[in-house]
């Protein structure tokens, strides 16, 4: 396919040549069923060519060496999501964390819990939680009576994220740093829950002091069950 020539305003009497047709009129967005169909039809793509693929619903341009999605790489790439109902534990799907991303972001929303409890997190590899005492944690926040609170610990069997009651279940954003590497996995969270029966912010620090390479995580209440949903994203490295 010819390279685009830019924009031309035709006037009465102009002769429409093949070069004009290919260089101006044919330079719109070409619609194909798939990338394979495009490859068959466009054997010599030129820089600036545009296409729309019906199977993926994506608009792409030819950079001169490859077809590239318009809009670039999103900073947060959606990985998976899930819902849970009256569960005693929620494990992200195996291989949620891969080498595709270094750091991950989990939005975890509990809409109901069966009893007051403390919410914890453990790293998970190949379907098994790491429940040994390799975790350090610290939680702090402010309460609705204007006082603050903090609690923490070392060598625990989980990272504590927050306390909650049936009236104010936990809702929070959890960032996991390097869960897939052999280095320690660090966790930071911003959320809300309950402390001493009062609504409170819950900001947590966590560290899994282990070389274990986690491909998922389990979030669980200390007692009872939880209902809600979550979304997992990867932070793009470029």
């Amino acid at each position: 396919m010819a390279a685009g020539l830019g924009l031309k305003t035709f006037v009465t009497g102009d002769v429409l040549t093949a070069a004009d047709t290919n260089g101006y009129l044919m330079q719109g967005v070409w619609v194909f069923a798939s990338a394979a169909a495009r490859t068959s039809a466009v054997t010599s793509p030129q820089e600036g060519n545009m296409s729309y693929l019906k199977d993926t619903d994506k608009v792409e341009y030819y950079s001169g060496s490859a077809w590239v999605g318009v809009g670039g790489t999103p900073g947060l790439a959606f990985i998976n999501s899930g819902t849970f109902t009256t569960s005693s534990a929620v494990s992200l799907a195996t291989s949620t964390f891969t080498t595709a991303y270094t750091n991950y972001f989990v939005q975890f929303t509990i809409t109901a819990c069966s009893s007051a409890n403390d919410l914890g997190l453990r790293g998970r590899t190949s379907g098994t939680d790491l429940s040994t005492t390799v975790y350090d944690y610290a939680v702090n926040g402010g309460k609705t009576n204007s006082t603050t609170y903090t609690f923490g610990g070392t060598s625990a069997d989980r990272i504590y994220l927050s306390s909650m009651t049936t009236g104010t279940p936990y809702r929070g954003s959890i960032t996991l740093f390097s869960p897939q590497t052999t280095a320690n996995t660090y966790v930071s969270t911003q959320g809300l829950g309950t402390e001493s029966s009062l609504g409170a912010t819950a900001n947590a620090y966590g560290n899994a002091r282990t070389a274990a390479q986690f491909d998922a995580a389990t979030i669980f209440p200390s007692t009872g069950t939880i209902t809600g949903f979550y979304n997992v994203y990867g932070f793009s490295n470029s």
């Binding site: 494990s91 799907a93 998922a216 069950t225």
Partner: protein, 63 residues
């Protein structure tokens, strides 16, 4: 023992043997921590009673 369920990715299933075992360990630890907190609160209340002051008054002393 009551049946417990885990949301494992897209599948909700009953705990397996290892998960039930870990749950029992976790519950024992929870009870231990709750008992310790309860004992601490009772000791604090006993001390306040012995001193004849309230918790707020004790806080004032420590401020």
């Amino acid at each position: 023992m009551e049946k417990l369920f885990i949301q494992d990715g897209d599948v909700k299933r009953e705990f397996n043997e290892a998960e039930y075992a870990q749950y029992a360990i976790d519950q024992a630890e929870n009870k231990k921590q709750a008992d310790e907190a309860k004992a601490k609160a009772a000791a604090k209340a006993a001390l306040l009673s012995k001193l004849g002051i309230t918790a707020d008054e004790a806080a004032l002393l420590l401020a």
